[in-house]
């Protein structure tokens, strides 16, 4: 705990702060903002770093104003919000399941949201807005099913993970079936959606996601203390005054909502929820759930990955999900080398 400082006021109030975690959060926020500005400047019509900042402040030319504020800013904001939601949701799942691999990708939530979207795309040929609603409903239903099936006098971390894997297998089979039912045009649309993409996102996707984050992020952070206690085991946390099952349910519901909303907005972008909390933990070197650093890391990761996918393959060629998928592969190898030695997987 050499990194923690305690701020004391004359009135007797005190606040423990982790200096390193604070520095990491600030650095990640700066990185995410810088990547966002660069991403706004990237595309068929490149705009310089300074011009982007000037336009965002409201002093650009009319053309720049249209491109930046109407076309590219919403996409970047969706990217930031989706990344933040996935990072936070992943950190919650990993903390509750007490396993670095217990992320929404592995537990089948993303696949459940995908099912909802596929039902809309394949069976109803629905509009983009309907696909969003379908994905949200699919994710929530899957989360509910996993929680109920894993319930047996409380939800145990490992049972949650394994039940999630079982549900994930069923839902994946349903997805495969829906994909074979589709004609080739719908199938192509479905596969692009299933990879996760930020192409063509506008303001109508920003507002709902922003509202949800505005409600859930403070709620989750307020309950982070209980989560930290729960890492010592259910019995100890009961003894220390944490209402374990209540806190766990609240946090899981929040995590499911965050993940489902993110998936509904951008498709199942893989591995951000898996990697962001782990990378954040490495940076802060703090054993706790690292919720805020994970959130910032998720946002920075996703925007950077989107920029990389545009730079490497040309605008709108390859969706961002492919880049995060590759990142996930690298992460797994890294996990293999480091975690295994410590026997922590």
């Amino acid at each position: 705990m050499r990194n923690t400082r305690t701020l004391r006021t004359p009135g007797g109030l005190s606040l423990r702060t982790d200096v390193r975690a604070f520095v990491v959060v600030v650095a990640l926020l700066l990185a995410a903002s810088a990547a966002s500005v660069v991403l706004i400047g990237t595309g068929d019509f490149p705009i310089s770093f300074g011009d982007v900042l000037k336009t965002l402040a409201g002093n650009g030319t009319a053309g720049q104003d249209f491109i930046v504020n109407e076309l590219r800013l919403p996409r970047v904001l969706v990217g930031l919000l989706v990344g933040a939601s996935l990072g936070l949701g992943g950190a919650l799942f990993q903390a509750v399941s007490r396993n670095p691999l217990g992320s929404p990708d592995v537990l089948g939530l993303s696949q459940g949201a995908t099912s909802g979207a596929l039902v809309v795309i394949v069976l109803m040929s629905g509009s983009a807005a309907q696909v969003t609603i379908g994905a949200l409903a699919g994710g929530l239903l899957t989360g509910l099913a996993i929680y109920l099936l894993a319930w047996k006098q409380g939800v145990h971390g490992y049972r949650l993970v394994l039940v999630g894997i079982g549900v994930s297998a069923i839902v994946t089979a349903v997805n495969g079936y829906l994909l074979t039912k589709a004609d080739l045009v719908d199938a192509t649309r479905a596969v692009v959606w299933m990879t996760g993409s930020l192409n063509g996102r506008d303001w109508s996707q920003v507002w709902p996601l922003l509202a949800l984050c505005a409600v859930l992020v403070p709620l989750v952070l307020a309950n982070a203390r209980g989560l930290r206690m729960m890492e010592m085991g259910d019995d100890v946390s009961y003894a220390l005054g944490v209402r374990v099952e209540r806190v766990r349910m609240l946090l899981l519901v929040s995590a499911v909502l965050l993940t489902a909303a993110a998936t509904a907005a951008a498709g199942p972008v893989t591995f951000v929820a898996l990697t962001a909390p782990q990378l954040a933990r490495r940076l802060t070197r703090s054993p706790g759930p690292n919720l805020l650093p994970s959130l910032c890391m998720g946002a920075a990761l996703l925007v950077t990955a989107d920029w990389a996918s545009q730079r490497a393959f040309g605008a709108d060629q390859l969706p961002v999900g492919v880049v995060t998928g590759v990142l996930g592969g690298v992460y797994l190898l890294w996990l293999l080398v480091t975690e295994r030695k410590a026997g922590r997987i």
């Binding site: 394994l162 549900v167 998928g325 295994r340 997987i345």
Partner: protein, 347 residues
Amino acid sequence: MLVDSPPEPRAETAPAPPTRRAIRALGLLGSVVILVLVALASIAIGAKELPLDQVWHGLFHDTGTYGDVVVGERLSRTVLGLLAGAALGLSGAVLQALTRNPLADPGLLGINAGASAAVVTAITFFGVTTLNGYVWFAFFGAAAVGALVWFLGGSRGATPVRLVLAGTAVSAALYGYLQAVMITDDAALGKMRFWTVGSLASASDSTILQVLPFLAVGTLLALGLARPLNAVAMGDDTARALGANLTRTRGLAMLAATVLCGAATAACGPIAFVGLMVPHVVRSVTGPDLRWILPYATVLSPVLLLGADVFGRVVARPSELQVGIVTAIIGGPVFILLVRRRRTAQL
């Protein structure tokens, strides 16, 4: 350990009493009868129903009537189902014994995904179009991912949960790769979206002939390993004290499981959960002795696979539900049930 079996202290040390043996042998015979019935049903049921006398006619007095042609078509599909089902069930039973893990299954441990990724790579990037060409890729992918998951899961210290998690994570990464390939290549998407769900529909005589040698070698190898694997099931120290060669047994068992699963996946795409469910059902009948579990699993797994295939043909008429989808929809709940059983989940 094979945790789901009822305690049977004498089964390993003394030969089973004759009545018990007779019951097991009789049960095996009964299973074969069930298998024959399911196989006949698989030939008779489909978009056009055939009465059993026509099936008989088509099988043994083929004169080229319409019914005989239909029987011929469905026969190769049924034979492939028999072979693939036996291979998947046997490899699941071997994996469960080898890893001492009640949740082991080629699908759950990512071995299917490894074979799929390798086959898709072969089709897209190396222009391999024949089954004979990409079956080798399937073996390589299955073996590489099997080893990776074993390593990721903590090798010797592996627990069921760790192994399954490692397998799922690796599968997720590989499916991400599959999707990336399918997005960039429309032609590949058109072909592979059917293959990646696992289906017997594309069966032909040449497919069967190509995978048959591999399956035969794998099956013989696996059945021959029953006795040493029995020793492995008792724990490393006891097994060594009993004179088992652990390294050789593990290596050969891994080889058998890989060959069986790789060949089955190359022929019909990834089919999950057959290897998980059947050994559990079998164990509740036979007890923990692998000399009985392996033959039972070989006979009963095709019953499940063919049954699922027939079911898939009946529910979605006039089109059909791929068998991989049916097995996953049946197998997922069974898996959850196994997890919810206290002894399994706490491992």
